[in-house]
């Protein structure tokens, strides 16, 4: 079940992002579905699955982006890894902690893109990207992540989370 879901995500999410995500846009900025998916999977399933699905999603995203073919691989893989670590570190993984995690990772990813993509441009262009791209994208990612976390059927309960924690990285 889970591998099939992951394959479907990798094959379907980027086409969804390029063609239909504009229906969820805010001021012309769309949510980053791959970031949200990598963060959600990492947070719920752990850092290994998070980083693997993040790399796979990042690669497909890079294929349909004008940027270099490694940038999203690194960023989305890191997002999956950090979300997984955050999920393991949390005493109690809740909607609020996930929202904070996805929001923080979205800002971090946005800053990486701002530096890498707009780094050579004028300072005014870089500063303009903060309210015009980074902020709305973070808001959309957070809102979408919260909705998906709430909807996801296999998120662990409090007890399961407590049972899961000792075998995590924190031990």
């Amino acid at each position: 079940m889970k591998p099939a879901l992951y394959v479907a995500l990798v094959l379907g999410l980027v086409p969804l992002q390029t063609s239909l995500a504009h229906y969820l846009s805010l001021g012309g900025v769309r949510p980053d579905l791959c970031l949200v998916a990598a963060g959600l999977i990492g947070f719920l399933a752990g850092p290994v699955e998070g980083v693997l699905i993040g790399i796979a999603l990042g690669l497909t995203q890079d294929l349909f982006s004008a940027g270099a073919l490694w940038l999203n691989v690194i960023v989305k893989g890191t997002v999956g890894l950090l979300a997984g670590l955050a999920g393991r570190q949390m005493t109690n993984a809740t909607l609020a902690t996930f929202v904070v995690t996805v929001g923080g990772l979205s800002v971090l990813a946005g800053l990486v893109f701002l530096f890498m993509v707009r780094g050579g441009g004028e300072l005014s262009d870089r500063l303009a990207a903060l309210p015009s791209i980074l902020l709305p994208e973070t808001l959309l990612n957070t809102a979408l992540g919260a909705a998906l976390y709430w909807l996801v059927p296999f998120r662990p309960s409090g007890e399961e989370e407590m049972e899961r924690r000792p075998i995590g990285l924190v031990g």
Binding site: T18, F64, A66, G67, A129
Partner: protein
């Protein structure tokens, strides 16, 4: 009895006048007598017909109404489809006309998506390496330049739009023949940089491709100058450009696979006039 009947009937023939008078005298009161039930039955028939037409037959009207509404919806849908086909036909005709007018080799492609991130202004085309598309090829619409191909897969290609800050194409001011570099800006417009200080620009001047870089032949309209920035002490001036093409409403484009010389801006897209001589392919 039978004999009596035959006798009466034969009286009609034997005494026609008398028998007719007799029959009339008997028939008139009978007719009056019968008129009452006849009226009642007639009114009853009208009532039944009214009830049938007004109520029972209304079911058919209702059904007919439902069918007509359904047909109306279907026809409206078809009408919209035909309108859409008409608009698409106009667009495709414009693309075809441009393709025929342009001497460069081109491949028509449809836009199937936007960049997978928010950090690049690029579009995804439904044609790729298998259709002869390669990196650095210019992309244009009937109104002017769109961008250049930056990434190719066998079946798709990514086009970085001229409004992306990472894009740079050499441009030529059509009226003054001054060259510069056209780059995208963060607000979705473009800016022409490195224009000589002595160039006499004015708002409304059209910027076209110079043909030197970017996979475009010379003379493809890029945009119109809306603002000129001439700072004190700078070696060059710059100008803000509004792209000629509405990049948000694009649906079909032409990828220039071989930018052969087009001769003159008069033969370029958009039919703008110019005075540049024919130039060899870049």
């Amino acid at each position: 009895m039978l004999l009596l009947c035959v006798l009466v009937l034969s009286l009609v023939f034997v005494l026609p006048k008398q028998s007719r008078t007799l029959l009339q005298s008997i028939g008139q009161p009978l007719a009056q007598l019968l008129s009452l039930p006849l009226t009642v039955f007639a009114s009853l028939d009208r009532g039944v017909q009214e009830v049938w037409n007004g109520y029972v037959a209304l079911y058919q009207v209702s059904e007919e109404n439902r069918q007509l509404r359904h047909e109306l919806q279907v026809l409206r849908g078809r009408n919209n489809e035909l309108r859409e086909l008409g608009v698409a036909g106009q667009r495709l005709a414009a693309v075809l006309a441009l393709k025929e007018r342009l001497k460069a080799k081109t491949v028509a492609a449809q836009i199937i998506g936007r960049d997978a991130t928010n950090w690049y202004q690029s579009i995804v085309l439904d044609k790729g390496a298998r259709d002869g598309i390669g990196v650095e090829m210019g992309v244009m619409a009937p109104d002017g330049a769109v961008g250049r191909v930056v990434k190719v897969t066998p079946f798709t290609s990514m086009v970085l739009l001229i409004t992306d800050p990472n894009n740079a194409v050499t441009g030529l001011i059509q009226r003054t023949r001054d060259e510069g570099i056209v780059e995208g800006t963060a607000d979705g417009r473009a800016r022409m940089k490195y224009i000589p200080l002595l160039a006499t620009l004015q708002s409304g001047d059209v910027v076209v491709t110079s043909g030197l870089t970017g996979g475009f032949p010379r003379g493809i309209p890029m945009g119109t100058i809306t603002r000129i920035d001439k700072a004190e002490g700078e070696l060059f001036q710059s100008a803000e450009i509004v792209p000629e093409v509405d990049l948000h409403k694009l649906e079909e484009v032409l990828v220039i696979t071989d930018p052969l010389p087009v001769g003159d801006e008069r033969e370029g897209a958009g039919g703008r006039s110019g005075s540049a001589p024919a130039e060899a392919r870049p």
